[in-house]
């Protein structure tokens, strides 16, 4: 298996593990952004898909959190009444995903010493962010469609 395939397999493996967290944040988004602010999450997903840098995604989340009060609302139904959606998402991406990147890098015997290895780690982190956001947005779409039915 070539290097690229190994990376993709590892990312998919980690995505299985963080799936429940992505679902929970997707439900948080559904409660706070509701269907009326769908463009906020499609915007986030577009940024994630097109970004060359992980920090473009983090900066976008910060900007939307500062700009719109609904990004700052807690998730009363999901046990996070005091932590806003944007803050929770940013914290997850900044704190949890780097640990998963480190685990993948270790398994791939990336020692983080050379410039090339550092760039690969950065790319793994970006791919993890994309996967997480993708799963979260799918859950958001599902949750708002369920809410609209009731």
């Amino acid at each position: 298996m070539n290097r690229e395939m190994q990376i993709i397999r590892e990312i998919n493996g980690e995505a299985e593990i963080f799936y429940d967290d992505a679902v929970n944040l997707g439900q948080h988004a559904a409660q706070t952004l509701k269907a009326s602010h769908r463009s906020q999450l499609t915007g986030l997903e577009n940024i994630a898909e097109s970004a060359y840098k992980t920090t473009d995604i983090l900066d976008y989340i910060k900007k939307q959190t500062a700009r719109f009060s609904y990004w700052r609302q807690g998730f009363s139904r999901g046990g996070h009444p005091d932590e806003g959606f944007g803050e929770r998402l940013k914290n997850y991406l900044e704190r949890e995903l780097p640990r998963k990147r480190d685990s993948i890098s270790k398994r791939l015997e990336n020692s983080d010493k050379t410039y090339e290895e550092k760039q690969e780690r950065r790319r793994i982190y970006l791919l993890l962010m994309r996967q997480f956001i993708h799963h979260m947005v799918i859950e958001y779409e599902y949750s708002v469609s369920q809410d609209n039915r009731h």
């Binding site: 060359y52 840098k53 992980t54 920090t55 983090l58 900066d59 976008y60 910060k62 900007k63 959190t65 500062a66 700009r67 700052r72 410039y115 550092k118 760039q119 950065r122």
Partner: protein
């Protein structure tokens, strides 16, 4: 303006994620949390973002020094402090870090080519730094506004 190579752009994106982002966040947090500065107001943010988007370092540097040297009233001394610190950091980046730490400067260029390349590199790096700083500034600004609102509501 000099055109940056694919390798230089890759390196700038790498530096943006690994060096400039944590530095920009620390920069604005230090000013607001430790030096009691107010977050940069929206009008200043817009001006700084617009000038950074032009990717012309001479214009950006002129803007920063102009804002630094303005005769700000006491209530807006935070703005002066921020631009004073920003100018210092950008100057260190241009004179030292660009070559010695970031290893971005090409070898074998004539004086004019080297000057153009340095300006293009600085425009790109400063753009990244400002984007990160402004994003963090927004969070600090809203946190401060919410704190003030809570205090006002507690007083009532």
């Amino acid at each position: 303006m000099a055109k940056l190579s694919e390798d230089q752009l890759q390196k700038i994106w790498f530096l943006s994620d690994t060096v400039l982002y944590p530095e920009a966040v620390a920069f604005i947090r230090r000013l607001v949390n430790d030096e009691q500065c107010s977050p940069l107001p929206t009008s200043q943010v817009k001006g700084l973002e617009n000038i950074a988007e032009s990717y012309k370092y001479d214009k950006l540097y002129h803007f920063v020094t102009h804002q630094r040297d303005r005769d700000w009233p006491v209530s807006k001394q935070s703005i002066k402090t921020l631009y004073t610190n920003l100018e210092k950091d950008f100057t260190i980046m241009k004179n030292r870090r660009l070559k010695d730490e970031f290893h971005l400067v090409s070898e074998g260029l004539n004086t004019q080519e080297a000057r153009d390349e340095i300006n293009a590199l600085m425009a790109a790096l400063a753009h990244e730094f400002i984007q990160h700083m402004v994003a963090e500034n927004g969070l600090l600004d809203v946190a401060e506004r919410e704190k003030r609102a809570r205090e006002q509501s507690n007083r009532r």
